[in-house]
């Protein structure tokens, strides 16, 4: 599993280097995306708590976290 993970990450890294897709949303146009109202989950405890309430009463689970968005600085 560790090897697979390493291969996938390396592959993604190479892909990023090889493909030079120009960003169509310029960094100086990302002010709205940096607004806290555009984050996926502003309050971590509350988000996890509600997920926990549903996970313990429903027969399904998973796929509820997200990374990304924001100002893209650095």
């Amino acid at each position: 599993m560790g090897k697979l993970l390493r291969v996938v990450v390396m592959g993604l890294g190479m892909l990023q280097g090889a493909c030079s897709i120009q960003p169509w949303v310029k960094p100086y146009e990302r002010d709205r995306l940096a607004d806290p109202i555009m984050s996926w989950d502003r309050d971590a405890i509350s988000g996890a708590y509600l997920d926990h309430i549903y996970d313990s009463r429903e027969g399904s689970r998973g796929a509820t976290g997200t990374a990304g968005g924001g100002c893209g600085c650095n």
Partner: protein
């Protein structure tokens, strides 16, 4: 049979990880400290939650987050099949999480321990996320490992007698992509595959089968679950910035597993800030699932199937949620070392209804209900949350 509370606590190890396991993009979030209180009232249960969270950066690349959560349960849930006794139990959860950013990659490693009298869970999680294509795309990969010890309280709430029945373990793999579509629109997709093995049933729940000789008309038996379980969930979500400064979001999740459960979850959210002081939010959630292949509210006779369950989590059901949340910045521009301080109140109301799980507490042969004709179970729950967040 002893009243159950564990079903409320067990998956928490996975749910709790969401506090610590989600890697961001390029910049670590602000340092913060939160104090949180919650109260869940519904289905005969009253569960109070308290939590403290602290997050601190030690350099621009490295941050640590620690969280402590305690659940206190009291009440009598619907699956108390013998005389109702007051349940009183407590679950304590501690977690620590570390974030590290190097160029365009963010790594997260976390550990969570959840302990209650009859259930102990230890979970480790690792994830990494990579910004690509001009930081418009973020790709994430995650791995979680959970080891659990399952027990049963054969005494009472006040004089417990714990018997350790076995163990289970769970592994999950997550892959996600988040994409900035326009300067107003972000989207994301996440896939999670979870595999569990071991003792997977709740020892406090029983199956029932038709037994004409019994005064109740049915007999009780132990649940028998498969020793393995694999599930797949895919969720897609979008968030759009409205020109007058507000945000609208939507998500849909599809779930499928080897126990025959298929579920759909749809959510809608709206966020309305007011100046720099208030953020108001509303959310709607719709959930529906069908029953597991080995689930039945009433089996025709003892041992009719290899696997048998009567756990309401595996029944065919639907639930609807409406939630309202208001955040007030009482320190909008900071004070001394604090950049910002907010207080938040959140109320949710959930209506649960079951299509093939019956309420057998007060309805029996004595008052004219033969087994299998009792009313289908439904209940409402109200959840209150209040928390203080200080950013520094």
């Amino acid at each position: 049979m002893k009243p159950s509370f564990r079903n409320l606590a067990r998956p928490v190890a996975t749910a709790a990880l969401l506090i610590v396991g989600v890697a961001g993009a390029a910049v670590l979030p602000d340092d913060r400290a939160d104090i949180f209180y919650s109260d869940y009232k519904g289905g005969g249960m009253d569960i109070k939650g308290e939590s403290v969270l602290v997050r601190k950066k030690f350099s621009e690349q490295f941050a640590v987050e620690a969280n402590y959560f305690i659940d206190k349960v009291s009440g009598a849930s619907v699956d108390v099949l013998s005389q109702a006794s007051v349940i009183k139990d407590e679950r304590k959860q501690k977690s620590i999480s570390v974030d590290y950013i190097h160029n365009k990659t963010q790594y997260n490693l976390s550990y969570t321990n959840s302990t209650e009298r009859d259930y102990i869970s230890n979970t480790t999680h690792f994830s990494l996320s990579q910004d690509m294509f001009g930081d418009l795309t973020t790709v994430s990969l995650g791995f979680t490992d959970s080891r659990n010890k399952v027990g049963e309280n054969n005494g009472t709430a006040f004089t417990p007698k714990i018997e350790w029945l076995g163990s289970s373990y769970s592994r999950s793999f997550t892959a996600g992509v988040s994409q900035v579509v326009t300067k107003n629109l972000i989207s994301g997709v996440t896939l999670e595959v979870i595999t569990d093995q071991g003792l997977l049933s709740n020892p406090y729940r029983s199956i029932r089968f038709v037994a004409p000789g019994d005064p109740l008309g049915y007999g009780l038996g132990s649940q028998i679950y498969p020793k393995t379980h694999t599930s797949t969930a895919v969720e897609g979500r979008v968030k759009y910035y409205l020109p007058y400064r507000a945000a609208v979001s939507g998500s849909y999740r599809y779930f499928d597993d080897t126990w025959g459960v298929r579920a759909h979850t749809a959510e809608l959210g709206y966020t309305q800030p007011i100046a720099n002081l208030w953020i108001l939010e509303g959310r709607l959630r719709y959930y529906t699932q069908n029953h597991a292949t080995f689930y039945s509210d009433l089996f025709p006779f003892a041992g009719s199937q290899n696997f048998e369950a009567r756990d309401q989590n595996l029944a065919s059901s639907t639930n609807y949620t409406i939630g309202l949340k208001a955040t007030y910045a009482f320190l909008p521009d900071g004070w001394r070392i604090f950049k910002r301080g907010t207080v938040t109140g959140d109320v949710s109301r959930i209506h649960f209804k079951y299509n093939d799980f019956r309420d057998i507490r007060d309805y029996g042969i004595a008052n004219g209900y033969s087994p299998g004709t009792e009313p289908l179970y439904k209940f409402d729950a109200t959840i209150y949350q209040i928390y203080l967040s200080m950013f520094f």
